[in-house]
Amino acid sequence: MTDFNKKNLFKIPGNYFQELEHSLIENAKAIKVEKSLSTPKNYFNTLEKEILKKTYPEKKPLFNVRRITISFTSIAASFLILFILNPFEATKTMTEDQAFNNYLESYYLEDLDSYEMLSMIEDSEIEKIVNTSIKP
Protein backbone atom coordinates (compact mmCIF):
# COMPACT_ATOMS: atom_id res chain seq x y z
CA MET A 1 0.00 0.00 0.00
CA THR A 2 1.29 3.49 -0.88
CA ASP A 3 2.07 5.86 1.95
CA PHE A 4 0.35 9.07 0.90
CA ASN A 5 2.06 11.18 3.51
CA LYS A 6 5.50 10.23 2.27
CA LYS A 7 4.60 10.68 -1.35
CA ASN A 8 2.64 13.88 -1.11
CA LEU A 9 3.17 15.74 -4.37
CA PHE A 10 1.54 18.92 -3.18
CA LYS A 11 3.48 21.66 -1.52
CA ILE A 12 2.44 24.62 0.61
CA PRO A 13 4.15 27.97 1.10
CA GLY A 14 6.51 28.15 4.07
CA ASN A 15 4.75 29.08 7.38
CA TYR A 16 1.40 28.49 5.65
CA PHE A 17 -0.31 26.88 8.65
CA GLN A 18 0.99 29.53 11.05
CA GLU A 19 -0.33 32.24 8.76
CA LEU A 20 -3.60 30.35 8.26
CA GLU A 21 -4.08 30.05 12.00
CA HIS A 22 -3.26 33.71 12.45
CA SER A 23 -5.71 34.80 9.76
CA LEU A 24 -8.44 32.48 11.12
CA ILE A 25 -7.96 33.93 14.60
CA GLU A 26 -8.02 37.48 13.23
CA ASN A 27 -11.19 36.71 11.26
CA ALA A 28 -12.78 35.17 14.33
CA LYS A 29 -11.95 38.27 16.37
CA ALA A 30 -13.42 40.50 13.70
CA ILE A 31 -16.55 38.32 13.53
CA LYS A 32 -16.89 38.49 17.33
CA VAL A 33 -16.78 42.30 17.30
CA GLU A 34 -19.09 42.50 14.32
CA LYS A 35 -21.45 40.15 16.12
CA SER A 36 -21.63 42.45 19.13
CA LEU A 37 -22.30 45.44 16.87
CA SER A 38 -25.37 44.76 14.75
CA THR A 39 -27.39 46.60 12.09
CA PRO A 40 -31.11 46.88 11.32
CA LYS A 41 -32.57 44.10 9.13
CA ASN A 42 -31.79 44.46 5.41
CA TYR A 43 -29.66 47.50 6.21
CA PHE A 44 -27.03 46.87 3.53
CA ASN A 45 -29.63 46.64 0.74
CA THR A 46 -31.13 49.94 1.86
CA LEU A 47 -27.68 51.48 2.20
CA GLU A 48 -26.74 50.63 -1.37
CA LYS A 49 -30.00 52.17 -2.65
CA GLU A 50 -29.46 55.30 -0.53
CA ILE A 51 -25.92 55.83 -1.81
CA LEU A 52 -26.92 55.33 -5.44
CA LYS A 53 -29.93 57.63 -5.01
CA LYS A 54 -27.59 60.37 -3.77
CA THR A 55 -24.91 59.87 -6.41
CA TYR A 56 -27.18 59.04 -9.35
CA PRO A 57 -30.57 60.68 -8.78
CA GLU A 58 -33.38 59.34 -10.98
CA LYS A 59 -33.60 61.16 -14.30
CA LYS A 60 -36.99 62.78 -14.77
CA PRO A 61 -38.67 63.13 -18.21
CA LEU A 62 -37.63 66.29 -20.02
CA PHE A 63 -41.13 67.45 -21.06
CA ASN A 64 -44.12 67.20 -18.82
CA VAL A 65 -47.20 69.27 -19.79
CA ARG A 66 -48.39 69.56 -16.20
CA ARG A 67 -44.97 70.66 -14.96
CA ILE A 68 -44.62 73.22 -17.76
CA THR A 69 -48.07 74.69 -16.93
CA ILE A 70 -47.16 74.89 -13.24
CA SER A 71 -43.82 76.48 -14.10
CA PHE A 72 -45.38 79.21 -16.24
CA THR A 73 -48.00 79.94 -13.58
CA SER A 74 -45.25 80.15 -10.94
CA ILE A 75 -43.17 82.51 -13.06
CA ALA A 76 -46.17 84.78 -13.63
CA ALA A 77 -46.99 84.77 -9.92
CA SER A 78 -43.35 85.55 -9.11
CA PHE A 79 -43.38 88.60 -11.40
CA LEU A 80 -46.54 89.82 -9.74
CA ILE A 81 -45.00 89.49 -6.28
CA LEU A 82 -41.84 91.12 -7.58
CA PHE A 83 -43.71 94.31 -8.49
CA ILE A 84 -45.78 94.35 -5.32
CA LEU A 85 -43.14 93.62 -2.70
CA ASN A 86 -39.87 94.80 -4.24
CA PRO A 87 -38.01 91.62 -3.26
CA PHE A 88 -34.54 93.01 -3.94
CA GLU A 89 -34.62 94.67 -0.57
CA ALA A 90 -36.01 91.53 1.09
CA THR A 91 -33.40 89.24 -0.48
CA LYS A 92 -30.64 91.56 0.59
CA THR A 93 -31.96 91.67 4.16
CA MET A 94 -32.44 87.90 4.29
CA THR A 95 -28.94 87.19 3.02
CA GLU A 96 -27.47 89.62 5.51
CA ASP A 97 -29.57 88.14 8.32
CA GLN A 98 -28.52 84.67 7.39
CA ALA A 99 -24.87 85.65 7.20
CA PHE A 100 -25.07 87.39 10.54
CA ASN A 101 -26.77 84.39 12.16
CA ASN A 102 -24.13 82.07 10.77
CA TYR A 103 -21.47 84.46 11.98
CA LEU A 104 -22.96 84.55 15.47
CA GLU A 105 -23.56 80.83 15.72
CA SER A 106 -20.25 79.76 14.31
CA TYR A 107 -18.03 82.13 16.24
CA TYR A 108 -19.42 84.30 19.00
CA LEU A 109 -21.57 81.81 20.86
CA GLU A 110 -18.81 79.24 20.87
CA ASP A 111 -15.88 81.39 21.87
CA LEU A 112 -17.16 84.24 24.00
CA ASP A 113 -17.24 84.08 27.78
CA SER A 114 -20.06 85.70 29.76
CA TYR A 115 -18.17 89.01 30.24
CA GLU A 116 -17.55 89.37 26.53
CA MET A 117 -21.19 88.58 25.82
CA LEU A 118 -22.28 91.22 28.34
CA SER A 119 -20.05 93.78 26.62
CA MET A 120 -22.06 93.29 23.44
CA ILE A 121 -25.31 94.35 25.12
CA GLU A 122 -26.22 98.04 25.42
CA ASP A 123 -26.03 99.52 28.97
CA SER A 124 -29.68 100.55 28.89
CA GLU A 125 -30.68 96.98 28.07
CA ILE A 126 -28.61 95.60 30.96
CA GLU A 127 -30.25 98.10 33.34
CA LYS A 128 -33.66 97.06 32.07
CA ILE A 129 -32.87 93.37 32.68
CA VAL A 130 -31.46 94.06 36.15
CA ASN A 131 -34.45 96.25 37.15
CA THR A 132 -36.92 93.64 35.97
CA SER A 133 -35.22 90.83 37.83
CA ILE A 134 -34.81 92.83 41.09
CA LYS A 135 -38.47 93.74 41.36
CA PRO A 136 -40.32 91.42 43.78
Binding site: A30, V33, S36, L37, P40, L47, I51, K54
Partner: protein, 180 residues
Protein backbone atom coordinates in the same frame (compact mmCIF):
# COMPACT_ATOMS: atom_id res chain seq x y z
CA UNK B 1 -1.16 47.13 -9.29
CA UNK B 2 -3.02 44.43 -11.25
CA UNK B 3 -4.37 44.85 -14.76
CA UNK B 4 -7.86 44.06 -13.50
CA UNK B 5 -7.75 46.94 -11.00
CA UNK B 6 -6.31 49.37 -13.57
CA UNK B 7 -9.16 48.57 -15.95
CA UNK B 8 -11.70 48.93 -13.18
CA UNK B 9 -10.29 52.33 -12.16
CA UNK B 10 -10.33 53.39 -15.80
CA UNK B 11 -14.01 52.49 -16.02
CA UNK B 12 -14.64 54.45 -12.80
CA UNK B 13 -13.01 57.53 -14.27
CA UNK B 14 -14.68 57.46 -17.67
CA UNK B 15 -18.10 59.13 -17.72
CA UNK B 16 -19.69 56.46 -20.01
CA UNK B 17 -18.79 53.53 -17.77
CA UNK B 18 -18.67 55.32 -14.45
CA UNK B 19 -22.16 54.59 -13.14
CA UNK B 20 -21.91 50.85 -13.74
CA UNK B 21 -18.45 50.69 -12.17
CA UNK B 22 -19.55 52.76 -9.19
CA UNK B 23 -22.56 50.51 -8.59
CA UNK B 24 -20.26 47.53 -8.52
CA UNK B 25 -17.86 49.35 -6.19
CA UNK B 26 -20.68 50.11 -3.74
CA UNK B 27 -21.83 46.48 -3.88
CA UNK B 28 -18.31 45.21 -3.25
CA UNK B 29 -17.18 47.58 -0.49
CA UNK B 30 -20.28 48.84 1.34
CA UNK B 31 -20.11 46.26 4.13
CA UNK B 32 -16.33 46.42 4.62
CA UNK B 33 -16.29 50.21 4.83
CA UNK B 34 -19.38 50.26 7.02
CA UNK B 35 -17.80 47.91 9.59
CA UNK B 36 -14.54 49.84 9.56
CA UNK B 37 -16.41 53.08 10.23
CA UNK B 38 -18.79 51.50 12.73
CA UNK B 39 -15.89 50.35 14.92
CA UNK B 40 -14.56 53.91 14.89
CA UNK B 41 -17.82 55.77 15.64
CA UNK B 42 -19.61 52.91 17.51
CA UNK B 43 -23.19 54.03 16.83
CA UNK B 44 -25.13 52.60 13.86
CA UNK B 45 -26.84 55.86 12.84
CA UNK B 46 -23.54 57.72 12.94
CA UNK B 47 -21.84 54.97 10.92
CA UNK B 48 -24.68 55.15 8.39
CA UNK B 49 -24.14 58.91 7.92
CA UNK B 50 -20.38 58.51 7.63
CA UNK B 51 -20.46 55.58 5.18
CA UNK B 52 -22.83 57.50 2.89
CA UNK B 53 -20.60 60.58 3.01
CA UNK B 54 -17.61 58.36 2.32
CA UNK B 55 -19.12 56.92 -0.86
CA UNK B 56 -20.25 60.36 -2.01
CA UNK B 57 -16.70 61.63 -1.51
CA UNK B 58 -15.32 58.63 -3.38
CA UNK B 59 -17.74 59.29 -6.23
CA UNK B 60 -16.86 62.99 -6.40
CA UNK B 61 -13.11 62.48 -6.20
CA UNK B 62 -12.45 59.27 -8.09
CA UNK B 63 -11.04 61.25 -11.03
CA UNK B 64 -8.38 62.61 -8.69
CA UNK B 65 -7.31 59.13 -7.61
CA UNK B 66 -3.60 58.99 -8.54
CA UNK B 67 -3.25 55.19 -8.63
CA UNK B 68 -0.04 55.33 -6.59
CA UNK B 69 -1.90 53.29 -3.95
CA UNK B 70 -4.56 50.61 -4.30
CA UNK B 71 -8.18 51.65 -4.61
CA UNK B 72 -8.89 49.72 -1.39
CA UNK B 73 -6.27 51.75 0.55
CA UNK B 74 -7.52 55.02 -0.92
CA UNK B 75 -11.14 54.26 0.04
CA UNK B 76 -10.17 53.20 3.56
CA UNK B 77 -8.25 56.45 3.94
CA UNK B 78 -11.33 58.44 2.95
CA UNK B 79 -13.52 56.37 5.30
CA UNK B 80 -11.09 56.87 8.20
CA UNK B 81 -10.83 60.61 7.53
CA UNK B 82 -14.60 60.94 7.30
CA UNK B 83 -15.02 59.09 10.60
CA UNK B 84 -12.43 61.29 12.33
CA UNK B 85 -13.96 64.48 10.88
CA UNK B 86 -17.39 63.31 12.04
CA UNK B 87 -16.10 62.72 15.58
CA UNK B 88 -14.32 66.12 15.55
CA UNK B 89 -17.45 67.90 14.48
CA UNK B 90 -19.79 66.11 16.93
CA UNK B 91 -17.46 66.49 19.90
CA UNK B 92 -16.70 70.16 19.25
CA UNK B 93 -20.43 70.93 19.01
CA UNK B 94 -20.85 69.43 22.47
CA UNK B 95 -17.75 71.19 23.82
CA UNK B 96 -15.99 67.86 24.38
CA UNK B 97 -12.65 66.35 23.42
CA UNK B 98 -12.88 63.56 20.82
CA UNK B 99 -11.89 60.98 23.41
CA UNK B 100 -14.58 62.17 25.84
CA UNK B 101 -17.23 61.94 23.12
CA UNK B 102 -16.20 58.38 22.20
CA UNK B 103 -16.09 57.36 25.85
CA UNK B 104 -19.62 58.67 26.31
CA UNK B 105 -20.73 56.65 23.28
CA UNK B 106 -19.02 53.50 24.58
CA UNK B 107 -20.60 53.89 28.01
CA UNK B 108 -24.05 53.97 26.42
CA UNK B 109 -23.48 50.82 24.31
CA UNK B 110 -25.55 48.53 26.55
CA UNK B 111 -28.57 50.74 25.88
CA UNK B 112 -27.95 50.57 22.11
CA UNK B 113 -30.44 48.24 20.36
CA UNK B 114 -27.71 47.41 17.85
CA UNK B 115 -25.20 46.20 20.40
CA UNK B 116 -25.48 42.54 21.36
CA UNK B 117 -22.13 42.11 23.09
CA UNK B 118 -21.62 40.38 26.43
CA UNK B 119 -20.02 41.97 29.47
CA UNK B 120 -16.50 41.25 28.19
CA UNK B 121 -17.20 42.86 24.80
CA UNK B 122 -18.69 45.89 26.54
CA UNK B 123 -15.66 46.15 28.85
CA UNK B 124 -13.26 45.93 25.89
CA UNK B 125 -15.15 48.63 23.96
CA UNK B 126 -15.06 50.92 26.99
CA UNK B 127 -11.32 50.40 27.45
CA UNK B 128 -10.60 50.94 23.75
CA UNK B 129 -12.59 54.18 23.93
CA UNK B 130 -10.27 55.43 26.69
CA UNK B 131 -7.23 55.21 24.42
CA UNK B 132 -5.84 58.39 22.81
CA UNK B 133 -7.31 58.82 19.31
CA UNK B 134 -4.33 57.61 17.29
CA UNK B 135 -3.76 54.57 19.48
CA UNK B 136 -7.47 53.75 19.32
CA UNK B 137 -7.54 53.89 15.51
CA UNK B 138 -4.42 51.74 15.20
CA UNK B 139 -5.75 49.25 17.75
CA UNK B 140 -9.08 48.93 15.92
CA UNK B 141 -7.40 48.44 12.54
CA UNK B 142 -4.83 45.96 13.82
CA UNK B 143 -6.74 44.00 16.44
CA UNK B 144 -10.36 44.10 15.23
CA UNK B 145 -9.86 44.49 11.47
CA UNK B 146 -6.77 42.25 11.40
CA UNK B 147 -4.92 44.57 9.01
CA UNK B 148 -1.15 44.33 8.58
CA UNK B 149 1.10 47.21 9.60
CA UNK B 150 1.96 47.71 5.91
CA UNK B 151 -1.68 48.28 4.98
CA UNK B 152 -2.39 50.49 8.02
CA UNK B 153 0.73 52.47 7.20
CA UNK B 154 -0.56 53.19 3.69
CA UNK B 155 -4.06 54.08 4.91
CA UNK B 156 -2.94 56.38 7.73
CA UNK B 157 0.19 57.60 5.97
CA UNK B 158 2.23 56.82 9.09
CA UNK B 159 5.49 54.93 9.43
CA UNK B 160 5.35 51.27 10.45
CA UNK B 161 7.59 52.03 13.44
CA UNK B 162 5.17 54.65 14.76
CA UNK B 163 2.23 52.26 14.24
CA UNK B 164 3.99 49.47 16.11
CA UNK B 165 4.71 51.83 19.01
CA UNK B 166 1.07 53.02 19.10
CA UNK B 167 -0.26 49.46 19.01
CA UNK B 168 2.21 48.32 21.66
CA UNK B 169 1.15 51.13 24.03
CA UNK B 170 -2.53 50.45 23.37
CA UNK B 171 -2.22 46.71 24.05
CA UNK B 172 -0.22 47.39 27.21
CA UNK B 173 -2.88 49.76 28.57
CA UNK B 174 -5.72 47.36 27.79
CA UNK B 175 -3.87 44.36 29.27
CA UNK B 176 -3.23 46.31 32.48
CA UNK B 177 -6.95 47.10 32.75
CA UNK B 178 -7.90 43.49 32.04
CA UNK B 179 -5.57 42.29 34.80
CA UNK B 180 -6.95 44.77 37.37
Amino acid sequence: MGIHQSLFIKSLKEPETREKAFRSLVGEYKERLYWHIRKLVLDHDDANDVVQNTFIKIHLNVEKFKENSTLYTWMYRIATNEAINFINSKSSKMGLQNQEWIEAKANKLTADPYFDGDEAAFFLQKEVAKLPEKQRIVFIMKYFDGMTYEVISKILDTSIGALKASYHHAVKKIKTKLND
